[in-house]
Symmetry: C2
Subunit: 233 residues, 2 copies
């Protein structure tokens, strides 16, 4: 029996979905979270988590809801990426998707504890499998965005634990920008922007000189943002 179609309109409407590119950093590599599709179309292919936008939520709220339902992630940095509307991007019919990207710190969200028992897995951005729908296009755009953005906004801290070493921060920048940076110059720049708080704590049980932990000074950053400030790496 056909499903009941009870929502009727004078003109046809595309379906509206969100998709979310979730970036995580494990200390070495930049990764994204993918979900294996359990149903057609693209059954068995990997895709970014997403779903339909409900009538009582904004697209951002929808993306956050899917983030929690499909990946068990709450209170993470999320920002709109782009809206994808190719007429044939979904074989089921006309579906327009508002894509977001999110940044999470993998140490505090290690596994992929989605409520739905869907198969979810973190993939290095260097080894992305073939993706469903137009998600490869979405991924390319998300990479461009994050690479551009990290140069003038301190979004990197969203990907690190509360306390981190300067080397961890540098590895993160290198992973995102896909280039090597000079240690001394990197530290000079980071120190100059004056948004890090050096903690008394140091690494323990490491087989080398213990590194100091630092913390991002979010409060100071908000203040400076308010005054219309500029950050560049």
């Amino acid at each position: 029996m056909e499903k009941e179609k009870k929502y009727c309109y004078e003109y046809p409407r595309p379906a509206l979905t969100t998709d979310c590119v979730i970036f995580g950093f494990d200390g070495l590599e930049l990764k994204v979270l993918l979900i294996e599709r359990g149903i057609e179309p693209y059954k068995g292919r990997w895709a970014f988590p997403g779903g339909f936008v409900q009538m009582n939520e904004t697209t951002e709220e929808g993306a956050k809801r899917e983030l929690e339902e499909e990946a068990g992630l709450k209170n993470v940095f999320i920002e709109q990426l782009y809206t994808f509307s190719d007429v044939h991007r979904d074989p089921r019919g006309r579906v327009v998707s508002v894509a977001y990207y999110a940044l999470v710190n993998l140490k505090e969200h290690p596994a992929t504890a989605g409520d739905d028992a869907k198969k979810a897995q973190w993939f290095s951005i260097k080894k992305i499998p073939s993706l469903a729908f137009d998600h490869e296009k979405i991924f390319r755009m998300a990479m461009l965005r994050i690479k551009g953005k990290i140069r003038y906004q301190p979004i990197g801290f969203e990907l690190l634990p509360e306390k981190f070493t300067l080397s961890e921060l540098q590895y993160l920048y290198e992973a995102i920008l896909e280039i090597k940076l000079d240690k001394r110059n990197f530290r000079k720049k980071i120190k100059k922007m004056n948004l890090l708080i050096e903690l008394d704590e140091k690494q323990q049980n490491v087989q080398h000189k213990a590194a100091s932990f630092y913390q991002f000074d979010k409060q100071k950053y908000e203040e400076l943002l308010h005054k219309g400030f500029n950050f560049e790496i």
Copy 2:
């Protein structure tokens, strides 16, 4: 009699529209094109041109179609701005809008020759009237985008005629950035990026030393873009 509602779906769907912030430059001021609404809601208020997305077109195609229908503009630079989805942004019901911004050169599109006999008018960005819906939010975002973008991409040329003087170019940058620039430093930077062709032609019948006309070297720009280049003003 109620209108026939013949497009039915299993779940409710928001309506999908586009809105477009059209920037123009008249040599002195940066302006945007607004349409006076002829019907409720917000009858008599000004709004950006826009309309419903059709099932056989992308949102960008829809925005371009509206641009032509409502403002008589064809073949202009257009780029996606942001998708606005507040649940109550439209009093008629749930309407999600994908906003675009366009750049046109006012000398070649002087009047506001829309096919629809709607009232359209160019407003200086310094004197924007009260707008319908959430269009003030859209406008603020468009301003931020264009200000940020012009610093690293040569989009300004879209707002100028084919041939222009360096002073005109400088006035444009000043109008967009809402700051004064130093003439010598501006010219130094512009010359260094090496994307202008100096023409043999000069201004005529001006009451001062005649300025040379220049042309944007689009071909060279495309080549450099391809090689992954960086432009900064």
